[in-house]
Amino acid sequence: MDASTEKTLQKILKVHARALDIPSGAANSFISHTISAVKKSLQTKSSSKTTITDQDLVRLITKELKKYNTDLAYVYQNYATII
C-alpha cells in the first residue's frame, strides 16, 4: 500500500468515523491499527506472489475494522452500493 493510498484511506475512514459519532481519539487509534494490520497482510500476500485486487483490499480493511467497530466496517464496505 503506497503512501498516497494510505493517506486517502485514513482521510476517508476519519470522515466516516466522525459521521458515525465515534470519538476522534478512538477512531484515530483503530484506523492506524487497521492500516498496520492490512499492510502486514499485504506484505505476506505479496511475498507469496498472490494477486491482490481492489475488492481484496476492501475485504481486508473491512475484516480488520470489524474488530473495532462494526458500523464503520459496514459503511466502508457498502458505501458504493447505497445508490
Binding site: D21, D71, A80, I82, I83
Partner: protein
Amino acid sequence: MSFITSVLILVLAMLIQAFLQLNPSVFAIFYHNALGKKSPKVADNLSLYFFFGIEVFCAIVFLSIYFLLSTIFTYFPYFMTNIFPWIMSGIFMALAIVSFFWYFRTGHNCKKTTKLFISRSLAHHLTTCAEKVTTRSDAFLLGAFIGIIELGFTLPLYIICTFQIIYFTELSSFLIIILYIFSALLPLFIIHAIFLSHHNLANIQRFRIRKKPLFRITISLSFLIIAILTLISGII
C-alpha cells in the same frame, strides 16, 4: 371521472413518490458526509437547501405540465377524454412491470444492496457529488438534479395527477400540489429524523435493505392499480 377514483389515483401517486429510493439514498450519503466533514448545524443548513432543490424542481415540473395539459385539453378535448386515459394506462402498466424487475438492480451480488436502475458511472457520480457538497447552491442543485434522473418514473405521475386536479377547484388543486411535493420530501424528513435520533448511515442502510422487497412491491402494485383505475375511468 369520479371523485373517488381521482382521490385514489392521487394517493397512490403520492405513495409511489414517497417510496422511490433515489432521493433517500443520495440524501443519506450527503448528510453522512456533511456530518463527517462539517458539523451537524451545517449539515442541517445544507439539508434545507437540498429539500428546496427537490421542491422547486417538483413545483416547476408540476406547474409546467398543468399549463400544458390545460392547453391541450382546451384545443383537443376528444383526445384528452377518450384516447389519453388509454395511453396513460398503458404507460403505467409498463412502469408496473419495469419497476418490479428493474427499479432495483438484480444479480447475484445485488441482493444485499440497494443498487438502483441507474448506470454504475452515474451512481458513482452522484455519490461523488453528494460527498463534495459544501455550499447551499451545491445542495440545491443536487436536489434538483436527482429529480431529473428519476423523471422516467415520476413524469407519468405528474401527468396523471395534473389530469386529476384539472377537474378540481383552484384552491384544492393548489393544496394537492403542496401535498404531492410534501410526499416527495417525506422519506427525507424521516431519514433526517433518524440521523437526529443518533442513528447512523449503517442503521439506515440495513433498514433499507430489509425493506427493499416492500418498496419494490409497493411501487409496482401502486403503478398497476393506477393503470387499472385510469383504464376504468377512460372506459366509463
